[in-house]
């Protein structure tokens, strides 16, 4: 039976010099849920994702990820310039020694059609536009069908109509995907997130987010900021 929580974050704190970006942050994410985080620039959203992906270490606190290998989609495509688009996309599968089956090839073709990249499979990244490269990065992260994804403003350089198509395809291909989505775009939230966490301050913390079925006990003094993306909010 899968864990009820795919991600649990407890009292996470991280500072850079005098600036504390994460301050005693605690929350949990239910399996299959997709949480959007909206906060001012420099408030530690990217740092949070990096800590959860084990790319940075927190000063204190802990996080538990109940997924084998979460996908991380960064703000920038981070493609390898000496590899073709196909080679870049297959890189995670190659690293994890996953065979490229006919099914994966078929799913890749569908992704490439949706992203209008079918003609560019043998091209190199420098031959593509920024938006196209970001789509390649999305395909590379999502083709292996991860159970959990950390998405750091992954759609920011993709145009509106394409963005909608990509998100719809993503959810059709992997409907049970759990995700933490950092974004500034309300449309992305309404298309993708099942819940939203807003921060008005310049650091993430001192807040307890509970899911819709709050089994985790929260300190009574904690301020809960949890919103349903289908409702309007201020």
């Amino acid at each position: 039976m899968p864990n009820k929580y795919i991600l649990t974050v407890s009292h996470l704190t991280k500072s850079f010099g005098d600036h504390t970006v994460l301050s005693d942050l605690t929350f949990a994410l239910q399996t299959g849920h997709r949480l959007a985080i909206i906060a001012p620039s420099g408030s530690g959203k990217t740092t949070l994702l990096h800590i959860l992906a084990k790319l940075q270490t927190p000063d204190s606190g802990s996080s538990v990820v109940n997924a084998e290998r979460p996908a991380v989609i960064f703000q920038e495509p981070r493609l390898f310039p000496h590899l073709t688009i196909d080679q870049n996309i297959f890189l995670p599968l190659h690293v994890q020694r996953t065979p490229i089956t006919a099914l994966i090839q078929q799913q890749l073709r569908q992704w490439l059609d949706v992203c209008e990249l079918a003609k560019f499979r043998n091209n190199y990244p420098h031959e593509l536009s920024g938006g196209m490269m970001q789509k390649v990065a999305l395909i590379r992260g999502l083709l292996p069908k991860p159970t959990l994804a950390f998405l750091d403003e992954p759609f920011q350089s993709i145009g509106q109509p394409a963005k909608k198509r990509v998100i719809q395809h993503l959810l059709a291909e992997n409907p049970s995907l759990s995700a933490l989505l950092v974004t500034h775009d309300p449309e992305e939230v309404s298309l993708m997130a099942t819940s939203t966490l807003f921060f008005k301050t310049n650091s993430l913390g001192k807040y307890i987010l509970l899911d819709t079925d709050p089994v985790m006990s929260a300190p009574t003094s904690a301020e809960t900021h949890f919103m349903d993306p289908r409702r309007s909010y201020v």
């Binding site: 290998r69 981070r78 390898f80 310039p81 000496h82 890189l91 690293v95």
Partner: protein, 252 residues
Amino acid sequence: MRPMSIYLTSLRNELIAFLLFMGIWSITALFYPVYVIPSPLAVANSFPGYLPQNFGHHLALTGMRVALGFGVSFVISSLLGVLVFTKDGARSVTAFMSALNVLPGMVLGVLFLLLFGIGSAAPITLVAILTLPTLTINTINSLMKRNTNQEQYLTSIGAQTSHFVQMLYLPALVPTLLSNLSLGIGLAIKVVIMGEFIGSQDGLGYLLNVARNTFNMKEVFFYLAALLVFTLLYQSVLSLLSTTLFRKYYYA
């Protein structure tokens, strides 16, 4: 662009450099008598009368010494650069190489001549030792400037050390290795000629030494022009490689 037109474009730069050199030489020769600075035309007209009969043998020896000395230095510097980078010893080795870099070639040349005697060993060792610091420091610096974003991505997908080397470190090194080949060969030729000058009885450096001692300036200038032509042809091949086969590594 097709490979041939790319090659012609890269050859154009070398051709411009050659014509510039020939122009400066021709103009300078106008102000001096032929026994001081012979013009390119005078050198060409007397060719090959001033050359020794076994010129090919001397040329081949110099070529072999450059290739061997520089080859050893290139391989050692590349391996050493990668090794010290992965073992966190970059700063110590860079400091050591910087110190090695200031040793005067002339002094080392005499030292190697005393150690190894007359022959190929002295110029080969000299070129290997004198090109090693620059090439090693270049290699280490290029690895220090690798793309940390891609490194972070590889970490996020659970890549092993071999993947880092294959996907990140080696591709990051390609432009530097080509630059080392370009930068190092000029230095290597100069050092081998100097080594042959000091302690050899064969090779282009030896011939140059004999020619200058007998004031056979046509022969001296022919050797200089031959070195120039070889270097420019070599550079054009490297230029072709960097614009075709290795072009994709320049976008890192």
